[in-house]
Point group: C2
Chain length 209, copies 2
Amino acid sequence: MNIRPETLQLYLVTERSLAAGRSLTDVVLAAVAGGVTIVQIREKAATTRAFIEQARALKTALNDSGVPLIVNDRVDVALAIGADGVHLGDDDMPCPEARRILGPTAIIGVSLAAAPGDGFADADYFAASPVFATDTKPDAGPALGLAGVAMLRRAVDRPLVAIGGIDQHNAARIIAAGADGIAVVSAIMAADDPTEAAAQLKTAVTRFS
Amino acid sequence: MNIRPETLQLYLVTERSLAAGRSLTDVVLAAVAGGVTIVQIREKAATTRAFIEQARALKTALNDSGVPLIVNDRVDVALAIGADGVHLGDDDMPCPEARRILGPTAIIGVSLAAAPGDGFADADYFAASPVFATDTKPDAGPALGLAGVAMLRRAVDRPLVAIGGIDQHNAARIIAAGADGIAVVSAIMAADDPTEAAAQLKTAVTRFS
């Protein structure tokens, strides 16, 4: 396991379109100041070169914080910038091939909507996705709900984060259901004060951890 | 140099939307039977997983032929399937980083619209792009023309292929201008008989080589 459960406590997934004129790096650093423990850069529309440039800038900015940077989907981008790992969904590279390419020390996370079958032995953590309905990812499957989080908690022996429609009001229930942490996009990316938003989420998470 | 000039003689770039109900693999194998010397798989809209599956099927199909398979843009896909190399454009991973990730024996090709500056020492071949206007890639820059091919031939000391609007009628002039080969998309992918289309293009190229 290349990641401790505590590192998943407050997991920020970037969404540049929500940054509202602010630089992605500025929003992320503000959120880290508020208590974000891990960052995933997600760029579904960017060219490879633009993705690399953005991810490298973010990695450089995060270096002093010790907060890991995970790349959504793109193993090539992760290799180019020396990211800490990748996060893989159903449409991305299969987990065993990503492990073979990235080596034993990379963090590999995998999104799950049901108990994992074969092929996930190489994952370091899992993400229950989506817990609630979300506007950020309209193509996500049906919501798992708190019962789904509890089911996955029993089904997997790895650190578990939950994502999808999580905010400061429901965060504590996610943790109570068995997740080690929460992943958010808009709750931080769209916040007027990302530091304050992150701090409130962190309080909700740690109160029940 | 990981590629000989002769290998660039007839370079097929795939475009699944032109396969008209035929499988990509079937069209490519038919074209190889007609004389295609190298294949590049290009998938700008596919998910990573779908791209890997398609590229792996094509690599398996091509194995017996000895025809190299190059992956457009995606170093991750190339690594996953054990492709022979990658082809990089302006929006893709910079050439030196691709070389560092893929190692010394991978074929790395780079598209050029002007004489290369620094940063291209790692390229094995260059593609003059676009030679003529083309409907296949409407976002390509202004056409280089035959004069542009001749200029690039003088400017670079690597194998040189030309792409963009090439068909059996203008192929010979591209070679006469100094290219080692021609790259085509629709001239083969959209042909009713890809074997015959490839054979005619091959004849046009080799007559002047």
